[in-house]
């Protein structure tokens, strides 16, 4: 029952439009820093582009996808009209206004601080205010998801919350709490300085605040993908979810352990002591658990589909899977990229191994493989799956869809594998250009060239994706029927209260964050003499 189709479509179209722009910027960046492009006469343009690319891909695009998908889940899983439609539109417009407000100073070169801000570098105040508006808009969505679930619970006392909605609300709570770190950094530290009320800033403390948002923001980006793994893929390929309760446990684990791990981004920083670095390293290891559980449950769910289609033997069933089904293809690609990216992640998490690759091109390779690869390819799959229900028209050209998914997969591998390699060689990230004439750097030229080619393959795939969606808006009308989610092998009649509500887990998430961040933040805040003069970007 999708009533507010326009609302959902608006979120998806805006998400994919800004994605297209940021993707183009990304490809351009790869080109001009590679030996096949000419050197930039003004490297400053590179950092404007990098800031826009990161801000859109990090904040605007995934947030809009999560919101649009969340509204769709709320209406179709709960079979209930969305409560608070007017608020939902308010949230949407806040994001539009925020994005425009942020991107203008970036385009003018007044906010080249990248999406990770880097105080004491300080950009134009409207850049930060724009980001704040985007986050505030998304918080409206968080509240609406919570309210809609509450309304449903009142009407269905004691009934199991549909898995898709349970996961969706877990993702919303995770985001609400995750964003607090960056919000504290912006409101307490950066914006007063950017607005000219203060002239100094504690860069170390600001970095700790930001690490609160990183890394958990990645799990917020991941939520729609995991929801698709569990609740769309098995249905789309004719299988069933292996275990409903394992799915719930995975989402709960994300909620609890994804939060207090961000200090692994400061392993090489001087303002965090070794003890807290170790604790965050251990918690980062723990967050591999829900992913390992998911890999098992989804492979088992896929196996069910294969066996229902007559698959036999230990591995023989893999052949009988519906490989021409775009959803199957997207899942397989997503898992391969998650596997490589996850293996790299374990190396980054290793408290000591991190030193070899910290802030090198390896890191860029890692998170592009996870976010740009494993996560975004499932965003495509979600859009393909939802589109007929949103437009009332069928997406007919499956071959084109498969081509698009193949291109994205190949492009991602060609882009990120060389990055991992030059990262091991010690190539730093965030560089506008390299002096390939230097004999010490020249051997890396070939790898950088490959990455640039990968960037163009990705761009081609992205354009194809937009074309397929746009053509889908004009296809012949066909009623797709109600939007359904996958059923479990043993669809639960009742669910233990701990697996049916979020309160306990949210409390645990907040408590763990406070213990893992409280002491370092308090000691840093009370240490005198660590504030340093702000350095204004673009000031002459």
């Amino acid at each position: 029952m999708l009533v507010n189709r326009k609302l959902i479509l608006a979120h998806f179209w805006l998400a994919f439009a800004v994605f297209g722009i940021a993707l183009t910027l990304g490809a351009w960046q790869m080109f001009i820093r590679s030996p096949i492009g000419t050197w930039l006469s003004n490297p400053e343009l590179y950092y404007r582009s990098l800031t826009a690319h990161g801000t859109v891909m990090g904040y605007v695009f995934p947030t809009l996808v999560a919101m649009g998908f969340g509204y769709a889940i709320s209406e179709s899983a709960l079979e209930q009209r969305l409560v608070g439609v007017r608020w939902a539109w308010t949230g949407f417009w806040l994001i539009v206004i925020g994005s425009v407000m942020a991107v203008i100073p970036v385009a003018l070169g007044r906010a080249s601080v990248l999406y990770t801000f880097y105080p004491p570098l300080i950009g134009n105040v409207f850049y930060y205010l724009g980001v704040v508006l985007v986050v505030v808009g998304s918080w409206i969505w968080v509240a609406l998801m919570s309210i809609n679930l509450r309304v449903w619970r009142k009407a269905h006392p004691g009934a199991p919350v549909p898995l898709a909605m349970f996961a969706n609300v877990a993702g919303a709570y995770l985001w609400a709490w995750t964003a607090v770190g960056a919000a504290l950094e912006l409101l307490l530290q950066i914006i007063p300085v950017a607005a000219g009320l203060k002239a100094t800033i504690d860069a170390g403390l600001a970095r700790v605040f930001f690490s609160w948002t990183l890394h958990a923001i990645v799990y917020f980006w991941l939520m729609p993908t995991y929801i698709a793994y569990y609740t769309i893929v098995p249905r789309a390929i004719g299988g069933r979810v292996y275990s409903d309760s394992m799915a719930r446990i995975s989402f709960i684990l994300f909620l609890v352990v994804a939060m207090p791990i961000g200090m692994h981004h400061t392993f090489a920083d001087p303002m965090v002591g070794a003890g807290f670095k170790f604790i965050h390293s251990a918690f980062t290891a723990l967050v591999a658990l829900p992913t390992l559980l998911t890999v098992f449950t989804i492979c088992a769910s896929v196996e069910i589909a294969a066996r229902l289609r007559g698959g036999r033997g230990m591995f023989g069933w893999i052949r009988t899977l519906p490989w021409d089904n775009p959803m199957m293809l997207a899942l397989a690609f997503s898992f391969v990229m998650l596997g490589f990216g996850g293996a790299g992640g374990l190396i980054n998490m290793g408290y000591q191994l991190d030193a070899s690759i910290h802030n090198t091109q390896w890191i860029t390779g890692h998170f592009h493989l996870i976010f740009g690869g494993a996560i975004v390819i499932m965003y495509f799959a979600i859009a393909y799956d939802l589109w007929p229900h949103l437009t009332g028209r069928e997406l007919i050209d499956l071959r084109l869809i498969r081509t698009q998914l193949w291109l994205w997969f190949i492009g991602m591998i060609v882009t990120t594998f060389p990055w991992h390699w030059v990262g091991i060689l010690g190539m730093p990230r965030r560089m506008a250009y390299f002096d390939f004439g230097d004999p010490a750097i020249a051997p890396q030229a070939l790898s950088v060239t490959f990455s640039a080619i990968g960037g163009f393959i990705l761009l081609a795939s992205g354009i194809l994706f937009l074309v397929i969606l746009a053509r889908g808006m004009r296809a012949p009308q066909a009623e797709a029927g109600p939007y359904r989610f996958a059923l479990a092998v043993h669809q639960p009649a009742t669910v233990p209260i701990a697996l049916n509500t979020h309160a306990l887990w949210v409390a645990l998430m907040i408590a763990l964050t406070l213990t893992n961040y409280g002491y370092p933040i308090l000691t840093l805040a009370m240490t005198e003499g660590t504030s340093v003069p702000a350095v204004y970007v673009g000031a002459q």
């Binding site: 490297p43 950092y47 080249s112 990248l114 880097y118 105080p119 004491p120 570098l121 549909p162 860069a203 170390g204 970095r207 292996y242 394992m246 090489a268 920083d269 001087p270 303002m271 002591g273 070794a274 670095k277 170790f278 390293s281 251990a282 290891a285 723990l286 591999a288 658990l289 390992l292 559980l293 098992f296 449950t297 290793g350 408290y351 000591q352 991190d354 030193a355 910290h358 802030n359 090198t360 010690g426 190539m427 730093p428 965030r430 560089m431 506008a432 010490a440 989610f485 092998v489 043993h490 669809q491 639960p492 000691t523 240490t527 003499g529 660590t530 504030s531 340093v532 003069p533 970007v537």
Partner: protein
Amino acid sequence: MSTEETHGNGSASAEVAARVERRWATIAVIIIVMMALLAAFAGIHRATMPQPRVETTDPSRIHLSGEFVESNLGSVLEANGNVTVRAIGQQYSFTPACIVVPVDTPITLRATSADVVHGILIQGTNINTMLVPGYISEQLMRFARTGDYLMPCQEFCSFGHEGMWGKVKVIDKIEFAGRAKGGGRLSCVGQ
């Protein structure tokens, strides 16, 4: 969402599913505990720990007094035969831009930033640390081979970031001792 009754032999298959699942979950937990133990072992026993202590310094005064005044930057041979290297990062260079150290000697790198966040990365090694203004980064190093290493700034520090490359020259122990005789602060800038 419609609730569905379980299939015919529901309880038996559910039991199998639960058993397989439990086994997998146990394996996953073991993997994670192993990884944490490895990190703990390497950290405690082998003492490979990044930045164990938090030290602060006022970046607006480092040029005027204290450890990081210009005359104190560079490599110095300590009485016990170890070497201490002091350096600062600033937009868009390191001082000294070329660090000279002896091979096969325990070296302590002490560095900070004079303005924004920078980073030191010595290519081909796992020497890698952030320079955050207001804080001192300390890292232990030891080079097994002589030779020249590139030392780029690995953290975005504004528009000139891509031009911020330093060098490390690892030389023979005796040659270093000879040059360090006077007790001065050594560097290889201009060599």
